[in-house]
Symmetry: D2
Subunit: 359 residues, 4 copies
């Protein structure tokens, strides 16, 4: 009897349940039902505190289309993993290893993004058998061309821009749509192109507010009263980009706006004289049923994870490269961030189309 | 040859083009193509400044599903209508009457919400032949059970709550979804019920922050870590409701948060200790293609408006009462607001289900 | 302790779970959790065969958005209810009464359409305490302005017509979209108007194939190569309408086409020379998550049903009349069919717009 | 002044307008508005008969989200291209070349699928400057990993299966969903996996009806009353696969069912005793607004096509390989079909999950 634990960690996204179902159904098939699957609650927290349940085959039925994660999730910052809690004296890493043994696991399947993979790699280095899958709407996990959750979020963000389009054109207004993405801009880049935004501001390309204002003016001269700006949460001005990290943090902390979009709106109103509206879809972007693309990807990742377990190949993340499913060593994944290359074809195509990146 | 002008005024919503198409196609049928339709640009602004176009039959094809308004729209506050602009000496009312005559119109069709209908009634009283249709996502126009745009906005707001649900349950988090509606809460009431919100805060029912916090605590005791609050833009606390108008305005002006949801989040975090996230879908709620319900309603309103014109019955708004299309005198509509009755069945049912209104 | 049984019967539709949740949550609230709810499996079949489960409060969480019915459903023709099965000697009516008593029920909540209500009324007349709710995508239940499921199905059927529109215009083609509805045409009427169909064929208005072909020709003369026909499953020609019932049945049984749409396509191709494509969305129309409108309606119906049980008012169906929730005696509902009045405003408006009903 | 003609040919799909917009906007940018774009009507037909219009920049605004093709399309079988029409003596190839010259084109941009590319290559060999883009919901164009239209169709087909799921589980029924695809099964494979179908029948994998019936039986033994089969239009039995081409064609011509799904349903009913329902979404799958994935792909293809024109690199199709945009010689594309490899990872993963391919 094979024993496998599963946990989902970090911010949730679409497709987590599809991926859980993928690995579970494949495990039951691969091991001819000779497998016990344990659902570990709320990410690493459940592994630390021994909060888990033995799951039944039927628990994985009907969850393909379900948003969120049936296992629950929580954020457990990697840098706190090794820190011993003073009050409780809890050694989290030891606790996770102890619970892994207590559960008698042959393997731990971890679904998570960047932070999650640092801890996954650490647990692997600590001797646990780990197989992971890359989830995040940010598509910023190193070692895979695509993470699941990404295209579902792109669909939602695009729908928001689509709807803003009709009201923007009707009123001849300037709109900022704030798209999720603090460190990387894949989501905003794709949604911006798909939604037909006029300006796309990414964390990877610092913007010049004057250049942004020029777009409004140029469009107005061309008879277009409305402009739509797709702005990543992590959009950054050229001045900010030139700051030292500490200085930047202090500057942002002192910012009187809830997010950069509001600041940008105020600045643009001041420069251009246009009224600028802000829309913040927020967590809406990571909720609901996964799109078809993600469901297929999750199923493939899940089946691949089950095969790794069957073959006792541990310490890998399932990844997609050039359309093929690959196994990426966790050590290669951990601690890296897959940013948008500023000269990638998507950006070149967008510029060719006349879309401004504010630079 | 009958000559009819059409304008759309105020904030846009779904279904404007469907209603424009409805009246136009019906007019062409009713008058056997012996009708000229003039599209007046950007609401009353186009009538004031003589900005209009003769439209062709084909202009009304393919617009049934289109969001926004092909005529453009703008806000023209009623209280400014009679104010003569000092610089330009422009008498707006006179200008509108002059342009109406200059265009040789037999009738002016006006699509708008509450503000729009004050001006529509005034123009009717000034002698213009006016027929109007009630548009707004707020469903707050007096004299009709339903305005178009409402159910389309409910669909979107519900979708947002649906998606927030999956992330809220996965993380065990408290979420506020801010739904449009400054003065009336129909949209929030319907989206809140349809989305399965736990708390619904309406402008019509002042809330007690302690009562709201009690819901979180009670749900936690019942094993539910997450709570979803559907909060109207115009939600108001009991303390605020007790203020005099001037005092209230000053208090809100001094509020350090971009909207009431952010203040509520801060207060709830402070009282309950839960982290509270805010989502602001904003203008997304009024954009995009109208839902099927609205398309049928717009078509019926449009056909009814054409019949009124055919019968030379002017000074009416098309309305829906008990499923029937009626003609409501503009004088009955103007200046009134259809608020949510606090004892309406929808609220009773929601309370029966255990939904809290924070009171 | 109050004991309530719930069953869903007949063809499923969107909103069944929302209505189940509505009545269940309201019952728990009304009776302060002093209520036991029994889920009866697969409609009357479960009541006949004693197939039921005691449900827990948590069973009703998270099902608001879920399509289908968590209780299962089956068709049990009313005319067979009194027929004693020869092989098993099973007296179905007696069995249902026995199981009702065995379960110790105070009330039986029945969700169903026309056929279901005949049996519900019969059980009520047999002395069982029955409260019912009107479900069906057909909106043909007597005594209520609206059934739940209807608008969700309209949304889907409209989406199909929308998509067919883009391909029809691109190719200049004639398309038939077959919409559900064997006896009544509400669904097709609403979807046809909402989708902008050029021809709408209803069971209530027999068509003349020559008149339908005229529409194609007239549109072609007007420069429009494409035509979209929304055809109800129960569309009927004038010749057929003139037949005696027996003759008609024989004629249809001998029809070489899987449904009337295919026959119509063949006839139109022969008369007009146009290629005619047929699309049959079928059961797709009754699946998936209920729309916001239905969710609110289901919640109101559910709360109203709970109030009836609280007040021990049995023998009623919850209904919607003029926007108000009403209790309709089962005897008034059973055996009647709410057809589309051929002079209703929706049809008048559609004709005003130039839509043909083929008559 | 650069002169570029554009035409769309063959069955339409989502994204055609997005791709048209992509190449047009990029051309205006690349050539600093020194370009004239001619829209050729209804595919090759417009080129043959000289039916085209000079387009303006504004014609390409607002079409990103629009389904179908603003240029119209038609099917022009390649094998008829060289056939001289007896009545009219029309030499189609010569006519196309003549019109190309008459219009003074520098390049002809062709959007189409497999058939279209045979003609595109022929025109290129005849000396016209051709650049093409691969469109089709079938994803069967050789030389590119992905065609646009594919993922939009997958989304729709998946939605249909999703909805069928809720009704299938509620009734415990067997359903066949017929997915487009006569020769290749990509669409059905992806929708089947994404929709969670239990059986997927592809043109590439002949099925054994007994094996399919076994799935129903096995599921029933496992307590699952419902089964969903995703069946490609071109699904083929093992017996049929063993036939000679002529024999097969005769056999299909004699088939008494409108499509293979109906035959399969009848056979399954006969073998298994289950009632089997058939749903045929048909052209619905190729209509409506393109999904975000397709919009990005169309934009990239469009920009790439404009770059090819800028660089005067003719005789190429834009393609996607390993995430990169490439230029594929038309000669490599024409006449080939990209079938689903029976051992591809998607199929392996599906089998790992327990999905049957009926073989």
């Amino acid at each position: 009897m094979k024993k496998v634990g599963i946990l989902t960690s970090g911010g949730d996204c679409q497709g987590l349940n599809a991926a859980i179902r993928g690995v579970a159904k494949s495990l039951y098939e691969e091991f001819n039902d000779e497998v016990e699957i344990y659902g570990i609650r709320d990410g690493y927290s459940g592994l630390i505190h021994g909060n888990y349940t033995k799951m039944e085959k039927r628990d994985f039925s009907g969850i393909l289309t379900l948003g969120g994660t049936i296992l629950g999730t929580s954020r457990q910052p990697f840098k706190m993993m090794r820190v011993i809690d003073e009050e409780t004296s809890l050694d989290k890493v030891k606790a996770m290893k102890d619970n892994y043994k207590k559960m008698g696991l042959d393997c731990l399947v971890i679904l998570g993004g960047n932070g999650t993979h640092k801890s996954a790699n650490m647990l692997s280095e600590e001797g646990l058998n780990v197989v992971s899958m890359p989830k995040t709407i940010d598509n910023d996990v190193w070692g895979t061309d695509m993470t699941f959750g990404f295209y579902s979020a792109v669909d939602i963000a695009t729908q928001v821009i689509d709807c803003i389009h009709t009201t923007a054109t009707s009123h001849g207004r300037v709109f900022i749509v704030e798209i999720m993405g603090h460190k990387v801009g894949w989501l905003n880049l794709y949604a911006g192109i798909a939604g037909g935004a006029d300006v796309i501001l990414l964390p990877e390309i610092p913007y010049d507010i004057e250049k942004v204002a020029d777009v409004l003016e140029k469009r107005e001269r061309g008879g277009k009263q409305f402009t739509i700006l797709a702005v990543a949460e992590g959009a950054i001005s050229k001045q900010e980009a030139a700051m030292k990290k500490k200085e930047f943090k202090a500057s942002r902390a002192a910012m009187q706006y809830p997010s950069v979009s509001y600041r940008l709106a105020a600045e643009l109103e001041s420069i251009s004289g246009h009224e600028v509206r802000v829309t913040v879809p927020g967590h809406f972007q990571r909720g609901g049923s996964p799109c078809a693309y993600d469901r297929v990807l999750c199923t493939r990742f899940g089946a691949a994870a089950a095969r790794l377990i069957k073959d006792e190949r541990y310490g890998f993340m399932t990844g997609l490269r050039n359309g093929e499913i690959v196994a990426v060593p966790l050590g290669e994944v951990a601690g890296k961030l897959k940013k948008v290359p500023v000269d990638c074809d998507e950006i070149v195509a967008a510029r060719d189309m006349g879309i401004s990146f504010g630079d």
